[in-house]
Amino acid sequence: MNKLYKVYIQFFLLVLVIAVSAILINNLLANLSRTGLFFNLSWLLRPAGFALAEHPLAYSPSDTYAWALFIGFLNSLKVIFGSLIFATFIGLFVGIIRTVNHSLLGFIASGYITIIRQTPLLLQLMFWYFVGFLGLKDNSFQLSNDILGISNQGIAFLGVSFTSEFSSLLLGLSVFTGAYIAEVVRGGILSVSKGQWEAFRSLGLSSSAGLFKIIIPQALPAIIPGLTSQYLNLAKNSTLAIAVGYSDIYAINDTVITQTGRSIESFILLLITFLFLNLLITNFMEAINRFILYYKKT
């Protein structure tokens, strides 16, 4: 009897969900046709007619809108994964510094976190770009021929050059997300009981060996979930690229919308892209988490 009751509830909920989504989708379609914006994706195959300053693969203005958006997606991936790596290193480093007793480094680290976390990201990105890079004007910074050069045109490192738009976005996102990751790391390390510190010290391990071999492996299960949500935020924040003139998928989408007037389709594509990307990050991080938990058990 009780089991049957549960089945009824489940069935009722399922019907409700289907009904509500049917109403909403119908509403969407009805409104689309009323505003004359019928859902249509054929425009994706028309030539884009605009140039891009940065394209990891070959691109010319006579390529399609779909290809232009894909190039934008690659540009987004480039900056997201670049800053993901930098932010993780910054976060790990600063987070660890915050937990060891070193007054000067600790003071600098907490100053960094305070400043970064209390100011808006958009403002920081504009600062890095308009003040940091473009503020160099005609001056440039050269480190022993061809190793590192910084000017208002960007960064040249070992013969590879990055534009100032990409560099400032990479720097801004890494420094911003790094501050949050540092707090996640610090929280994770502090969650390991004091006894573990005393234990490795009594075994005669050095501080650094103890930290990396005893403390951090135990802190990881507490760090990973927080880290995941910081990675997701980073991916989403990358759309602020438009503020510094970087051609990410959102910026290109912006141009596409004004040229085609297809805002609904474009935004749906954009939303699906980010949904897909973030699901990928979530699942990847969950796999790591499962692996760590499994490893910990054995």
């Binding site: 509403n27 689309l32 140039a51 300053a53 141009t255």
Partner: protein, 348 residues
Amino acid sequence: MRRIIFGMLGLSMLLASCANTSQNNTSRLDLIKNRDELICGVSGKIPGFSFLGSKGSYQGLDVDICKAFAAAFLGDAKKVQYRPLTAAERFTAIKTGEIDLLSRNTTFTFSRDAFRGNGLSFAPVVFHDGQGLMVKTGSKINSIKELSGKSICVGSGTTTEQNINDAFEVASLPYKPIKYQDLNQVVAGYLQGRCSAMTSDRSQLAAARSGFKNPSSHIILDDVLSKEPLAPASDGRDYLLADAMRWVVFALISAEEQGITQENVYQKLQMAQENPQLKPMRRFLGVEGDLGEKIGLNNDFVVKVISATGNYGEIYNRNLGPNSAVPIPRGLNHLYSNGGVHIAPPFN
């Protein structure tokens, strides 16, 4: 898998709720009258066209056109609510009904007007512009050819972006577009030396230059990359509103042709009332006939408009004339009788 389903479901709900605009078959004109306020989309960032003045109110040619519409539709030029919009937002704002009409230095083009394009309807052109390039005097660049391979700062989501591309493709020259979302960033990028040149409509270049520390160290190249007829726009499906807008703009031009100004409009009205033989002026000012009613306005709409904003020439001089903050030579924007291209059809 479950996450994907929930994600998609959430997404579709979000979209469905977004698209829920309440539009029906009555004209926007009635809606404006019932609301007793006109919602006008402007840029808000271009001196001379629409920008926030020192007294905290919007000023400029585009703003005066909004006022003219409000005076014609509602009898009061003050009943306007201005919505500053970015280039990318403006068409969606019209299509979703967030604004009644757009008076935002918008270029009149084929695909924007087309039913299957952006689906807008354009009023007559209020400013004939052309796209240009601005460079630093010290750079020794004199023509587009010398910009080969250089970076150019451009606003994204505008016809500007397409025109600069077309110009460089025609000349088969390479270039790097650095795209910013709004004109202030384009200016900042250019002034900070990120680009060798900035491109925009020549009027906007002149307006931007007027705010530079050293206006004389920047020149606008002679190359004109495009025709940019700037015109107010509304939703293409609403022909009643489009008709009304069209004839308000023509009234401004016609008033200049007839020498009717903000100052003398009431004298002219009295003259028309006293002299039955002045047929064209009697029809124009609504003393005789029912021109206003034919487009859903009061018959005296022209009087209301001219007394509020003055004629086209007065609006031009106030905002872009030699004594204004952003002087732009009138050129093509003269009346046809003075060598320009502005002309109004007969008010018959």
